[in-house]
Symmetry: C3
Amino acid sequence: MSMQTISIMDYIGTFAFALSGAYLAIRYELDIFGIFVCAFSTACGGGITRDVVMNVGVPRFFSSYTTIMIVIVASLLAIATKSEKWSKLMLTADAIGLAVFAIDTGVRGLDNGYNLPQLVFASVITAVGGGVIRDILLQRVPIVLRKEVYASAALAGAVVLWFIYPIMDKMVATYISLAVVFGIRMWSVYKHIDLPVVHLDTSESAQ
Amino acid sequence: MSMQTISIMDYIGTFAFALSGAYLAIRYELDIFGIFVCAFSTACGGGITRDVVMNVGVPRFFSSYTTIMIVIVASLLAIATKSEKWSKLMLTADAIGLAVFAIDTGVRGLDNGYNLPQLVFASVITAVGGGVIRDILLQRVPIVLRKEVYASAALAGAVVLWFIYPIMDKMVATYISLAVVFGIRMWSVYKHIDLPVVHLDTSESAQ
Amino acid sequence: MSMQTISIMDYIGTFAFALSGAYLAIRYELDIFGIFVCAFSTACGGGITRDVVMNVGVPRFFSSYTTIMIVIVASLLAIATKSEKWSKLMLTADAIGLAVFAIDTGVRGLDNGYNLPQLVFASVITAVGGGVIRDILLQRVPIVLRKEVYASAALAGAVVLWFIYPIMDKMVATYISLAVVFGIRMWSVYKHIDLPVVHLDTSESAQ
């Protein structure tokens, strides 16, 4: 993969996640600073967490002003439009962010010789970590634990990438993996597919 | 301590914590992916947090596939049994995990020349960090803040280890410290001992 | 800035934050261990998070026993006084902690060649990170998202510092920046100033 393609993917994911974070903050009636914090956490929280855990030094986020400018623009755009008539568009943007962050991280991981657990962990944490931090801040049960195909779509794409990246054209392998994440996510959104739930045998109530 | 004994302790703690995390997830009616995330967070969250804060490089968790396999097996076992008739067994397993993670980390810390605050912090965060992350994800007030002797048992064991490890046989010191954590924890469970609570003098309500 | 002045500032901020964390824990009826955890998280959580994210090695917190002693003393003082008759004093102490942690980190950051996003992130996370961790543990919506001028005061001070520190006497620049954070925060407390809230155009209820 050319560095340039990866960077563009990164920016698209950042913009999509920042926008979705900002809209959610507006829905929760946060003040303008809260909207920005929420957009920033959603867009940058996953990547910063990955860089901290994988010990790559100062998180890549800090190496340029571009990311923070994207977050600011997305926040202002959300404030200016103040509407959810694009909520379907937002679900699509969020799925794009999910796919881009998972596979972008996966490609970098493979280039750095990650083993499978490292690759899966880094991809999934980058893709869903920002949303988890945002949900914790907003006191919601995090998106990864709600009954939805979300993190599992990122995980599936990372595993596919792990197997096909070494044996085919890198560009093609990347696009296939992106399509796996995006496809699974959008398919579950439109079909309302959830993963199965296991029920306890006892009738004891939750603690 | 032989490296092998430490590894076996590590695996037992991982299994016990993963099992308890998975059972809790089932009680909260999470889907199968959520059960795995919950088992993983409980079993590995403390150790990863410790490795990140103590700056040891890429967390030890990622150096082998063994840990993740243990988490998967424990999750499947919880799903297969789907019952809480072993809830007393689980409390015991959890106490074993607490003792093993605290003292395992303490021994490694002493071998690496930690000072007392570093040793106590690393031991306690490893022992209770996974449970805290799990509780935050499930939107429960974390276990360390609920009225129970839990983190304080890990702390007591770490302090005991700090004093006796340099002056006696390392194996004996390790087992004594393990017994301190496990004993205090089980004793508080069976006697329903809580730490004292301080009450405000004012009659003002909570903010 | 002399290293000594910075250290004294650090200690004052630690004491103020630990005291406010301990009082909050008492109000939430936590046990004595919970009070200490809450004081510790409030006072040290921001600095440890900053050191972990900015990859400075083992967090500075662990390099001496002084900080932990300050936290213990503050916790005991809160337990001994058990009263909120000083709640106005606490708001002032908290504002001092906010200013000191933000600008102390900013000065160190400038001495280490941070760019603006790094400086702002490090300053704000140090100043508000401890409070955010405390609020997450206590299951409250974090202070940065509530309708108050809080993190934005730290941010304003960091930006002012960034512009004036290179062009004037370092001591004067530091005190001006401290005054900016403290002044904005206290002014908003006494005038009950909040940042503006953006409202959605739709009448849809929150998800």
